[in-house]
Amino acid sequence: MKDLIKLANLPISDEQAKSLESAFSETLEVFKNLTDLDISQTEPTNQVTGQENVLREDKIDEDRMLTQSQALQSAKHTHEGFFVVPRLIDEK
């Protein structure tokens, strides 16, 4: 569970993790019924529209661009026109 919490990037205390764990096992239990069905010859479905290779021209569409101030407008922490991000390296 600890690894999973780290992988999911969720700040959860040990106590909270415990309470989430029982719900977790309960849900996994439900999935067991999938072993009833024969899927040995079945292809997976990743999308249902049947569309393939929906591409756009490799051209900048200015209608969809945000200005720098629009892009930054909802950020809690900015610095001289940039997003402030948590330190990732050299934290000891």
Partner: protein, 465 residues
């Protein structure tokens, strides 16, 4: 002075505006009075636009003629707070609007407010909203369903003329059923998802929640169509849903699903009664066998959690919103489960198996639609559940939506129309009508024929329809 204009169906409102009998401004004001009177108790809207803030009444030459429309709060509107009912986004103002909002405004819809939902649209009760639960306006001791519970409640309480919700697997149809209104889930790809806060990207389908089937047809025509910003929308033409409603259902072949599934003792008899009505209108109805929906619950739960864990990874508090410590328990559970079913060593056991089983459901529907034009089932196993019911079970939502999950994972269109009213509790049951992909015209046609030949719709009398 209040003129009871909030009770008008969309069709009637448009007719009265057109004839000069009333104005959109007056209708908007009456709906807003309903919000002012009821929202404190029912908690339907998370934000509202007062009549004085509206500048949109000057554009009458449009389909919707500035009628007041409620919008689920997981749909982005430029520079208006859009929360997805989570404190992560409590003050988030998007820099752009969803395509469906652009379409709505282009067609003259006036957004009267943003409605409550299960946080991130995770749930079927509207109880997981981090801004408090919504109550069912038909009977406030009961839940409105969800996740589009606020939109369904807004329609049921006459706080708008029509509303917009989103459905991943049941989130339009189930609250419509519980609130005694009409909910249409379009084919996946019929209405653009651009600007809708992503939940499960492979099934998310925005659509209308309305007072009548005809209103749903009017609304869908305004929302549907290709969007270059959403690669899953297609170029195919949007039919004239409103005129197609008038087509007779005589000769249509209708399959009745799930009569053999245990636990449907309450809802199933009313589906058979509805089938009799359709039969009397010339349709040929038959019981059919279908793949057990219990497998769809597993497929949907795995696929949905996996897509949730990926989609919610972007909420890191850097570019917008608060940090990840603000997620509620339901979102945490879903993120963790999705992360688990996608992680190395487990993806083959869960995610791959679910995607293959999903194919079995698509094949099963193809088989059924080779013999039947439409399929019907209960929308929900039962009536609205009492307040607090979702807190008892982690699988509450999936069980409430069990009968809708098969058609949702297959991407098919479906509509829920009221098919019974319990006078004691004032609660409703819904009839779910499904058709092959892109055939919203068929579900609307059958639903309309059923609606106008029965007395379950609570607006028909008032509106002399």
């Amino acid at each position: 002075m209040k003129n009871n204009l909030h009770k008008l169906t969309l069709k009637k409102a448009l007719a009265q505006i057109q004839s000069g009998e009333t104005t959109a401004k007056k209708i908007y004001a009456d709906c807003f009075s309903q919000i002012e009177a009821g929202n404190k108790d029912l908690n339907v809207f998370l934000s509202t636009n007062s009549p004085t803030s509206m500048k949109q009444f000057e554009n009458p030459e449009t389909t919707l003629q500035n009628c007041p429309i409620a919008v689920k709060d997981n749909i982005c509107i430029e520079n208006e707070v859009t929360t997805a009912a989570s404190t992560v986004l409590e003050d988030y103002k998007p820099a752009y609007s969803a395509t469906l909002i652009d379409n709505l405004k282009l067609h003259g819809g006036a957004v009267i407010g943003k409605t409550n939902l299960d946080a991130w649209a995770h749930g079927s009760s509207t109880e997981t909203s981090q801004f408090g639960r919504t109550l069912n306006p038909r009977n406030p001791k009961y839940l409105p369903g969800g996740s589009s519970g606020g939109s369904a409640a807004a329609v049921a309480a006459d706080m708008c003329t029509a509303a917009i919700g989103t459905e991943t697997a049941g989130s339009i149809r189930q609250p419509a059923s519980w609130c005694g209104v009409v909910g249409l889930k379009p084919t996946y790809g019929r209405v653009s998802r651009y600007g809708v806060i992503a939940m499960a990207s492979s099934t998310d389908s925005p659509g209308p929640i309305t007072k009548t089937v005809e209103d749903a047809a009017i609304m869908l025509a305004c929302l549907a169509g290709h969007d270059s910003k959403d690669g899953t929308t297609t170029n195919q033409a949007v039919p004239d849903y409103v005129s197609l409603l008038q087509k007779s259902i005589s000769g249509l072949k209708i399959g009745i699903m799930y009569q053999d599934i245990p636990g449907l003792k309450i809802a199933n008899p009313y589906v058979l009664a509805a089938a009799k009505v359709l039969e009397s209108l010339g349709a040929k109805v038959e019981l059919v066998n279908a793949l057990d929906p219990k497998y769809a619950v597993s497929v949907y739960t795995i696929v949905q959690r996996a897509e949730v864990s990926s989609n919610l990874a972007r909420f890191d508090g850097i570019r917008f919103g608060n940090d990840r410590s603000y997620f509620g328990d339901e979102a945490r559970r879903r993120i963790l489960l999705g992360t688990h079913t996608l992680r190395k060593g487990y993806a083959e056991k869960y995610y791959q198996v679910a995607q293959k089983t999903r194919t079995l459901f698509i094949e099963d529907f193809s088989r059924l639609f080779s013999s039947y034009d439409v399929l019907i089932s209960p929308t929900s196993p039962s009536f609205a559940e009492p307040i607090g019911a979702s807190e008892d079970s982690v699988m509450f939502g999936e069980l409430a939506d069990m009968l809708l999950e098969p058609s949702s994972i297959a991407g098919l269109p479906g509509i829920s129309v009221p098919c019974f009213h319990d006078e004691k509790t004032n609660l409703y049951l819904g009839l779910n009508i499904m058709a092959p992909a892109w055939r919203e015209d068929l579900v609307l046609q059958v639903a309309h024929a059923y609606e106008i030949n029965t007395d379950w719709n609570s607006w028909r009398k008032d509106n002399n329809d």
